[in-house]
Amino acid sequence: MASAFEYAPAPESRSVVDITPSYGLFIDGEFTDAADGKVFKTVSPSSEEVLSEVARAGAEDVDRAVKAARRAFEKWSALPGSERAKYLFRIARIIQERSRELAVLETLDNGKPIKETRDADLPLVAAHFFYYAGWADKLDHAGYGPNPRPLGVAGQVIPWNFPLLMLAWKIAPALATGNTVVLKPAETTPLSALFFADICRQAGLPKGVVNILTGYGDAGQALVEHGDVNKVAFTGSTAVGKAIARSVAGTDKKVTLELGGKGANIVFDDAPIDQAVEGIVTGIFFNQGQVCCAGSRLLVQESVQDELLDALKRRLSTLRLGDPLDKNTDIGAINSSEQLARITALVETGEAEGAERWSAPCELPSAGYWFAPTLFTNVTQAHTIARDEIFGPVLSVLSFRTPDEAVAKANNSQYGLSAGIWTEKGSRILAVANKLRAGVVWANTFNKFDPTSPFGGYKESGFGREGGRHGLEAYLDVR
């Protein structure tokens, strides 16, 4: 945005976080090298600077970690819920105390704007631990019968888009219900999980209750396939989710999968238009669109399409892309070169298939992985970009004429994670929400999260719910 009112750089200080040159795996309360000594580098996607070198877990390390978690399980699960609760409350408090440090760390390792880590990720992380801490001694009242029992060792694999928040979604309910965990963060964002390991130490959490294995997909696979894991929780791609569903077939492992999406954001002609524009922006450009529940398909009623698109383009032109540590940055870096390549390829497919591309006029930094906010018009259900999850700052715009058509198009997807509805007519909201086959429906808002609110998908977006009372079920031996 060229303006007389040019905001001066306002970078958050990096000095609040101390990243050491190397990190080990966190097994049985200790940081340790990988058995085979392998390591990998984690880079800052906004600069390609190497942040640290991290141990790369292999099958042997997975086995060590699962054994540690198994040993810890007996005592941990036998603790009175009120004692487990206090550990979780401690963790929540320490996260709050260290939230600025963790926000800066997450921004460095992930590339997302500090504005988001500071105002969204970290508050939600602490809130999630607070919420489930309170459940630990109230499980008898959760609707799963008297004295519901934990499952045992939970193997958890999380993605890179909300590293610490996904960790919280996995670990908080697991510990509250008396399970022990082995968690593998994504290979591009290992650091915040390792800092969390340190928080566990500060909180005095018994060793082996939480184990963190940094590594690649092979470690994740070894973890979910490990014979002594009782529970598998995965957030990530639908393809990997399906592979996990196959690998646990015929076992007693309980599984929850939170996978991809192609959320429809439906704007009716009587929408509160300015808020709808904001909701569309939040829906697809929050975290650079690297959000499974992103509103990546805009379904707009034809009668207001031109007006809405003009407003949307004008708004997108004000987005500030750049240094993620700058407090005024709206759009940060894409998480990795691989992800950038995937986004770029899908956008090229969109153009090749005849959709009309528009990208916000913004300068991209020379180093790091960047993609300008982009939208496609003239998109139909037949276009690849209307069907495949792009997982980037790319919005596909489709039109509809009637509520029925909007619902039919919204549901015409193998996914069913999220959807949005924008209209001032209450009865239409309720009717459309009722017909949408999606696990989370945001009406006149988008991308809102809360620890009390169950989250999860229909269809190929996965199964099971995280958050709220519902989120307990995944970690309890109940049917």
């Binding site: 996978l259 193998q414 696990g439 429906v441 809360d450 609110s453 049917r479």
Partner: protein
């Protein structure tokens, strides 16, 4: 009535889309009682019958899932009423199928009738029990509601051909799903007769579709079918269950695994709610509150 009157045999047929077709394959197989005596020929369903059943179930899903919970409850209760009226027939069929004495078979049928009554009462309560408002930290109304998963394949138990069958089918449709049911392979007759009860109970055609034949042969295409949303593997042995669970992963069907043998063989036990919730999805809807006025906080 003379003792030497020649009785009229019943031709057992499938129940698909509210109609009673023969198997598309034209094949039948012999069904015998527990002592090996011939009872009837049952249709041996093919993959095409399975496909037709899915089509019928999908077609019925919108109406059934969209019906009021009260209406679904009324219909499930009607099924109990119709079954009660045909009690003698089912006592005989169950006795023959499972080698039970008449009194034991009667107890089974009575329990099955009562099971329909149990689930009839659940239709309009499950949302209150498993759904509800979530107190989010912000100016939003947030409500979670259970919704049916969709089309569910149900492999009915092999041993308990009637009470077991009812125990797995009733919760699936009580929750608003539509079902493609694979009857006990050896003892399919009570299931096929149940189709006749369902057809006269105001249950819309296609909500329950009943197939007989070889379980593995019918189940394989159903487990792989991309328009089936869930599968209950109760009637599969361990090996088949694993195979089907792998196939089901292709479109991430919700899978209810065969329960551990201990306790689950007893279909007279309190059914609880787990079969009801196995094929429910939780939908959470957010909406802003706080539009009372622009003069500062709305609270």
């Amino acid at each position: 009535m003379s003792d030497n009157r020649l009785s009229v045999f019943k031709t057992y047929k499938l129940y698909v889309g509210g109609k009673f077709p023969r198997s598309e394959s034209g094949r039948v197989y012999e069904v015998t009682d527990s002592k090996g005596k011939w009872l009837a020929n049952a249709p041996q369903s093919s993959r095409k019958d399975a496909r037709d059943a899915v089509t019928a179930a999908r077609k019925a899903f919108g109406g059934w899932s969209g019906a009021t919970a009260y209406n679904r409850g009324q219909i499930l209760y009607r099924i109990a009423e119709m079954l009660e009226g045909r009690r003698e027939q089912f006592v005989r069929e169950v006795a023959e199928a499972e080698g039970l004495s008449k009194s034991k078979a009667a107890a089974v049928v009575d329990a099955a009738v009562d099971r329909w009554v149990w689930y009839a009462g659940w239709t309009d309560k499950v949302a209150q029990v498993v759904g509800g408002a979530n107190p989010v930290a912000g100016p939003f109304f947030n409500l979670s509601t259970p919704e049916p998963t969709g089309v569910v394949t149900v492999l009915a138990p092999q041993e308990s051909s009637f009470l077991g069958l009812v125990s797995v089918v009733a919760p699936v449709i009580a929750a608003g799903n539509t079902a493609v049911v694979v009857a006990s392979a050896e003892s399919p007759l009570p299931a096929l007769s149940l189709g006749e009860v369902l057809a006269t109970s105001d249950l819309p055609g296609g909500v329950v579709n009943i197939l007989s034949g070889k379980t593995a042969e019918i189940a394989a295409p159903l487990a792989a079918h991309q328009d089936v949303n869930g599968i209950d593997l109760t009637g599969a042995d361990a090996e088949l269950a694993k195979e089907l669970e792998i196939a089901a992963a292709d479109n991430l069907k919700r899978v209810a695994r065969p329960q551990a043998v201990d306790g689950e063989g007893d279909w007279t036990a309190d059914p609880g709610t787990h079969r009801l919730t196995a094929f429910l999805e939780t939908k959470t809807v957010w909406h802003p509150t706080g539009a009372l006025g622009a003069s500062g906080s709305s609270y």
